[in-house]
């Protein structure tokens, strides 16, 4: 405890120096904390978006990402087969079609998500009602489209399919049943969701039985992996991915740049923090060699003086580290806002996401930096020749 008090007295004796040291550590610590949030932020946020849809397995025709590859043929039969598996709780067919508003001079491009109205929806209703039980003409629309076209539950709208050669299919009349939030919507996306059959009718195809993907909810007692394995056994010609697989796939490709950049910046930041504390402590110790020699001469053990240096380092880093947390949180909000302005990023996807793990790693890394920074000044103090130092002090 005496070593702790000695360290405290040293810190408060030079408030300007100590405050600047703490502020420096806080700035560095805030950046380090943010890099830790960034390192897994996209993964956690993406996982959250996937989970929000309420389905943990996806079935597609090829190993490309959903909506980029060919469609599943005989989708209804496939969905029935999958639904009959004991590991599966629910199956939902999804078909996405390009459409545009059929009225007005300026035609807005709209993404039409077709799904089974009776199944649990993949969107969250924020106003009005869902499409279930309201027939093929019912739609839910996203908030952006509702605000832009000034639509509300009960409004009517006409849509035409953008179907390449088949362009010319008559417009379909829909009624807005509700306003919904779609997990992967971007800030400027115009998304609507309606019946699966309506997605086909937009391009005049009433008999086509295809789907872009099937989303599957596994039974809680079986789990996603068991459900995926069962589907693979039942149909070897389809590609089955769990939410975990998708997260891993994105982690390896799309998100890896931010993970790598966060590792590089965290390493540089940590080194910078170590350097800051090491220099401050070393200069401080060199300035007070006479005092330290005197303390040793009047009976303070080497261990106690060395402990004082370590405690001083811990105090500076500890105070700076604690200050870094609110500072880093505020900074992460700013940086997150910058990155989320990238085109095509879903509104609810975040780059900086807090998790307790980041806090623990932050504390561990700063503790390591504090110990490493104290090493050199501790060595100076441990090897200090008492008599020679006192003599030099007296002569000078």
């Amino acid at each position: 405890m005496r070593a702790l008090r000695l360290a405290w007295l040293t810190v408060v004796r030079q408030p300007a120096r100590s405050c600047l040291g703490i502020l420096g550590v806080a700035a560095v610590g805030a950046l380090l904390f943010d890099m830790l949030l960034l390192s897994r932020g996209l993964i956690l946020s993406f996982r959250d978006l996937l989970d929000r849809a309420g389905f943990d397995v996806r079935v597609v025709a090829s190993d490309t990402l959903p909506f980029n590859g060919p469609r599943l043929e005989d989708a209804t039969a496939l969905a029935r087969l999958i639904a009959s598996l004991p590991e599966v709780e629910a199956v939902q067919q999804v078909r996405v079609a390009d459409a545009e508003t059929a009225s007005g001079d300026f035609r807005r491009r709209i993404e039409f998500v077709g799904a089974d109205p009776q199944a649990r929806p993949m969107w969250t209703i924020v106003a009005g009602q869902d499409i279930a039980g309201r027939g093929e003409a019912a739609l839910v629309i996203n908030r952006h489209l509702a605000e832009t076209l000034r639509l509300s539950p009960g409004s009517s709208m006409s849509l035409t399919g953008r179907c390449g050669e088949a362009q010319g299919a008559p417009p379909l009349a829909f009624t807005v049943a509700g306003i919904a939030e779609f997990p992967f919507d971007t800030a400027t996306a115009d998304t609507v969701a309606g019946a699966l059959s309506a997605a086909g009718r937009l391009c005049g195809r009433t008999t086509e039985d295809t789907a872009d993907l099937l989303v599957v909810r596994s039974r809680p007692d079986a789990g996603a992996d068991a459900a995926a394995a069962a589907i693979r056994r039942a149909r070897r010609d389809v590609h089955v991915v769990t939410s975990d697989d998708l997260v891993q796939q994105f982690n390896r490709t799309q998100f890896s740049y931010f993970r790598q950049i966060s590792v590089v910046l965290a390493t540089v930041t940590l080194f910078f923090g170590f350097l800051l504390i090491a220099v401050l402590l070393t200069v401080s110790v060199n300035q007070h060699l006479g005092e330290i020699a005197t303390l040793r001469a009047i009976g303070l053990t080497r261990r106690r003086v060395v402990s004082g240096i370590v405690w001083e380092s811990a105090m500076l880093v500890g105070a700076g580290g604690i200050l870094a947390l609110p500072l880093g949180t505020a900074l992460s909000v700013w940086l997150d806002r910058i990155l989320r302005s990238m085109p095509g990023v879903p509104t609810d996807l975040h780059f900086f996401v807090f998790e307790p793990r980041a806090l623990v790693i932050h504390a561990l890394l700063l503790a390591m930096a504090a110990i490493a920074a104290a090493a050199y000044p501790v060595r100076i103090v441990a090897a200090l020749p008492i008599a020679a130092t006192l003599r030099r002090e007296a002569v000078s």
């Binding site: 300007a16 120096r17 950046l31 390449g164 490709t253 200069v283």
Partner: protein, 284 residues
């Protein structure tokens, strides 16, 4: 000049199914494949492969690898391996024949046009007026995709600002300690007649020299490490993209920030002592 019809197709395709096949009597059409595709599937020039747009391999056709090329790196997709093949347009259309999906219908995504008079903007307007539904765009026109890089640049600038603030605090702390160490020296200089202004000028020069030396060392370190940084990311993503480039503009901006900060830190730290009474400086 890029000319974009609304019908969909692709000249450059990602391979849906690729298997090495044994040569047959029918002479297969030639294709070019990317180095990454060649390496990932162990293909060489002369290999005969089967390509299909259908994942089950329906309507597959044989192709002969006539060459392997290094793809132009695409910053938008650098994290994904470029497993691409280039083929003649008639071969692609033949490959797509029979696809039931409207996304794979016969047609092309874009047509590249070389103009003799180089007035791309006027040509684009002319095309739009004559053929409604087609979009003509000059290759030099601003690309919306660059917005992503503007955002990434803004992000890196924000990180740089935070780092500079941290460095400034560090520098100030260091200068406060160094000046404190010189308290008695400054006191003696004042005693023998040096004016505050003269001492401050000395401090200014010293701060400028230290700041310049520090900035130069930082720039040299950045120049030395940029190869390491680029090398790591080029290896990691198997691309020839340059991720970090120290340009003269970057050097000047670093100097413009670091040197004034260094000088200011020296002056601020010194002034706190210089304004004290002489006796306080020599601790009497």
């Amino acid at each position: 000049m890029v000319f974009q019809p609304t019908m969909t197709a692709a000249f450059l395709i990602s391979v849906a199914l690729l298997t090495q096949a044994s040569p047959t009597a029918v002479e297969p059409a030639g294709i070019l494949i990317t180095r990454q595709l060649a390496e990932s599937r162990g293909l060489t020039v002369g290999s005969v492969v089967k390509l299909a747009t259908d994942p089950a391999g329906a309507h597959a056709r044989l192709f002969r690898v006539d060459g392997i090329y290094e793809p132009t790196p695409d910053p938008m997709h650098f994290a994904q391996p470029q497993l691409d093949a280039r083929m003649h347009l008639p071969d692609l259309l033949a490959l797509e024949a029979g696809m039931p999906d409207e996304r794979d219908r016969r047609g092309v995504t874009s047509i590249n046009v070389a103009l003799s008079d180089r007035d791309a903007e006027r040509f684009a307007l002319d095309v739009a007026a004559r053929v409604p539904g087609l979009v003509g765009r000059a290759t030099s026109a601003p690309d919306d995709r660059t917005n992503t890089f503007i955002v990434v640049e803004r992000f890196h600038l924000a990180i740089a600002i935070v780092t500079v603030v941290g460095s400034a605090v560090f520098l100030l702390a260091l200068m406060v300690m160094l000046v404190d160490e010189r308290r008695s020296t400054v006191g003696i200089l004042r005693l023998i007649g040096f004016t505050r202004r003269r001492i401050l000028l000395q401090v200014f020069i010293e701060g400028a020299v230290i700041a310049l030396a520090g900035a130069a060392a930082g720039i040299l370190f950045a120049l030395a490490s940029q190869r390491l940084f680029n090398g790591f990311f080029q290896w990691r993503y198997d691309t020839t993209l340059v991720f970090l480039r120290i340009t003269p503009s970057v050097v000047w901006r670093s100097l413009a920030m670091a040197v004034p900060f260094g000088i200011a830190a020296s002056l601020v730290a010194s002034w706190t002592f210089l304004r004290q009474q002489l006796l306080a400086l020599i601790r009497r």
